[in-house]
Symmetry: C2
Subunit: 351 residues, 2 copies
């Protein structure tokens, strides 16, 4: 047995793990009181709380989740419904969702579904799996038919990263408009005037918001909008390739491209390279999302980072909270984004 340093007592696996009873005994209180302290109940005398906490630490007590949810009669099952698995996004999302689920004793089920799911089929699937609430990352967060059907059935849902929160759903998002505005303003501050924009999938509500932020920054800087500098994409790399080709074909050429996500920005970098352009010396290129793609390619992309893990965590928390009596009505929540400046953008090139 390797000797390790820690304040927590070591014990071989298989040995008896401390229970509330052990803690109660050591602290000289009842099991109930231990439970109260552990669950953050406020109606406990401070001295008692301290004694219990000390016993918990000394014994290395960790609550048994199974007993907890059995006694609580909860056994809350949350489905993470996803289609179109942007694997990188999903992975960050799952880490956050799982963390909160395990902290609050809920069970997380990951269910894949069609890109354009049949609401009735989903309803069956959820009922068969005894799902109590649903987590909807993009693009499902924007599927109005699906959401209406679930809500009508009384299924609590949380939309993550939608631009259009449903009043009866919990939702967590960033301010996509403000983020796009910030990125565009950064480019303008670096001297760019001819900035190409690649829009995202029109079916996702965030797409319009990003475009609106771009347009507002331009307007605020007194730069006339040039429709030829807007290219339609759909968030795929392939659509980014076509859009970038269109943009780079304009005369005079734009000095910067702001793509609505990283995949399309990466495609723009590829097209620029094919045309013998150096990034960022000859042209600046920025993305959105800060997915793995942003740091995989070279140069690494300046982009907008959403706190995906945290957003998922909060969404799960909201769902769990709503399952308890006296829960407040669902409401939209907004988290801060970060503009991550890396190597793909720079000053406007001299004439």
């Amino acid at each position: 047995m390797t000797e390790v340093q820690s304040g927590t007592p070591r014990r071989r696996r298989g040995e008896h793990r401390p229970t509330v009873a052990d803690v109660a005994h050591k602290a000289g209180v009842s099991a109930m009181t231990v439970s109260r302290v552990v669950n953050g109940d406020t109606h406990v005398r401070e001295a008692t709380r301290i004694r219990v906490l000390a016993a918990v630490a000394e014994l290395g007590y960790v609550p048994n989740q199974a007993a907890r949810s059995l006694a609580g009669g909860k056994q809350f099952r949350i489905a993470l419904l996803h289609s179109n698995p942007s694997a990188a996004y999903l992975s960050e999302f799952m880490v956050g969702a799982l963390r909160e689920a395990s902290a609050s004793g809920a069970q997380l089920l990951v269910e894949h579904c069609a890109e354009n799911p049949d609401p009735a089929a989903i309803a069956v699937q959820l009922a068969d799996h005894r799902i109590d609430a649903c987590l909807l990352p993009p693009p499902l967060c924007d599927d109005a038919r699906l959401i209406a059907a679930m809500l009508e059935q009384g299924m609590p849902i949380a939309q993550v990263a939608t631009g259009q929160p449903h009043p009866q759903a919990s939702s967590v998002a960033i301010d996509d408009e403000a983020a796009a505005h910030a990125m565009t303003a950064r480019l303008i501050a670096k001297g760019h005037r001819r900035i190409g924009f690649i829009s995202g999938n029109p079916n996702q509500t965030a797409s319009a918001l990003r475009r609106a932020g771009f347009a507002r920054a331009l307007a605020e800087a007194g730069i006339a909008a040039d429709p030829r500098l807007i290219a339609n994409g759909d968030f795929t790399y392939r659509s980014g390739l076509a859009a970038a080709r269109k943009l780079l074909g304009c005369k005079p050429r734009p000095t910067a491209i702001f793509a609505s996500n990283d995949d399309m920005a990466a495609a723009s970098v590829a097209v620029a390279h094919q045309q013998g352009l150096d990034v960022p010396r000859d042209i600046s290129i920025c993305g959105f999302d800060d997915t793995a793609m942003a740091t995989t390619i070279w140069p690494e992309l300046t982009t907008i980072r959403q706190p995906i893990t945290e957003m998922a965590r909060i969404a799960v928390k909201a769902l769990v909270k709503r399952s308890k009596p006296g829960a407040p009505a669902p409401r939209p929540m907004q988290l801060k984004f970060t503009l991550v400046g890396r190597e793909s953008d720079g000053a406007v090139p001299p004439k």
Copy 2:
């Protein structure tokens, strides 16, 4: 309430869910017998089993996992330890791990750790979180020091995708050597003789296996190994960029490049494009892993697919099984890979 079609009875959330007692009553047996049937115990008369199963179906009974693990006294906690989060890999991995964990009533904890973790620190972390077993995806699956330390402590572990299974660990992998051999043979069959190879991170045991498979295929075809056609990479896109430049600088130029993973293959495509080469007309490029990168870029990559989700599922299953009395000794398991032919490779170009 939307009307849905299904054999399972619908009920509003919050309503009483059927328990073993309900099933037992309906089937005219004891709760014990229901438990036996549900858990696949063989010592049950066939007629009884059928009756119980019918009751289960009719009531839409689903066992309560919390009660199950509480009664079973298990409450098995498995840590998925990961560093260097190749997000795409991790996401597929988590889906599989989570699926099996929830099916077998184990709890899955996702713990991030340093790229080159201090075994003692990890031991503390695991003990603090009351971890019963550990899941090690790459590159941690190849960290000999970490593995030795955990094993010494008596921690059951499962290595996924290692080229060098530890005799005391469970392990699940594909045959990396055979996969690389298959890919190389495919290229040879298409007429290629000058095939460049980009190796992976030398710290991962799979790297050497992939290279060995490449070499064997060459030897079997009677093609002399040319050391100038081997470039060292480390699995990053950036290293792929440098390796591809080196390879494409050879005279005569290789007609194909086989990179040890998709990121490096994607980098090779980028370099080829920069040099005005068409893929696959002028040069064939293949990857390994079938990550999101493979289908994101254009042309889509011909690559090797590992059943990552299934590998993770099996690894969890092995760990859970080993936690039960009378479990067999851990052993290495091997799953089938698939060669996925897409658009990045073709016939050797005419002279």
